[in-house]
Symmetry: C2
Subunit: 182 residues, 2 copies
Amino acid sequence: MYEVEIKVRAEKEPVRRRLEALSASPQETVIQEDTYYDAPHRSFAETDEALRIRREHVPEAGETKIKVTYKGPLVDETTKTREEIETPVQEGEKFAAIFEQLGFEPAATVHKEREQFELEGYTVTLDTVEGLGEFVEVETEATEGELDRAREGAFALLEKLELEDATRLRTSYLGLLLAERA
Amino acid sequence: MYEVEIKVRAEKEPVRRRLEALSASPQETVIQEDTYYDAPHRSFAETDEALRIRREHVPEAGETKIKVTYKGPLVDETTKTREEIETPVQEGEKFAAIFEQLGFEPAATVHKEREQFELEGYTVTLDTVEGLGEFVEVETEATEGELDRAREGAFALLEKLELEDATRLRTSYLGLLLAERA
């Protein structure tokens, strides 16, 4: 399965109004704390991979979910499409310890508040990222054969949200954060 | 937490009779399928570490549990004492895929039937390992300060089981299997 994603820098409020006008379905708002790891044997910055432990807190439900995620290199030039393997775990601290013993070092932690909407088979996400500001993502999952259509649909949706002129970013929040620090 | 363990090569039946005579508490019998991984950046055979995905089937309960385990190097000369980090996961196949994408390759899979007893704070395990035969392990967990006492207790228990003359092994089942193949 591939993740097809377009990310733009944009104020959330006008996009939220467009989503409401288009009758998008609001989802739960979540607080995510993502710790990214560096590998001991290759540079994830160069290979464009990521290994992450995500702690996701859902204030409404009062629960926290933890997931381990591997993201493969980007596979095209215009969107943020890549292979992703994600799986729930119960004990995030144990995985942090296992990764560290294996030589994977925590590179940075990204904190964000994430508001999500479902619209026409896509997830539209309004993010406030600590230290970086506000962003909007349009995202869906697709098999290899569906990739072209999924990308076209994502760009069409971006237009409906009046975001076609917004600055598109292929850099991850981790990458943006590390660039801010450098 | 450390795992203090003595492993000997021994027929199970006489040990099972000794355990019954000593009123040890029988636990569930489990079938374990352990896949061990090689690391891309160092030799676990040399560093004496292990990364494992364990699929444990409990026939009586009709359930399968999956765990990811890291084992650190042995820390003493006479027992199999080492740091161990173990944590349950729901999707073993996803972790297998993540490890392989990160460059960890499956080295071998160890299949065994494991019968366990609790006695005097120790776990006594009777193992039948596919391709290797029968073994007995005496094991407990200890903090760093308790290690000496835990080791002495393990040797005392070995005597009670009339196993003081049995061949002690510091090699893992994985190591024994790989040696058989070589």
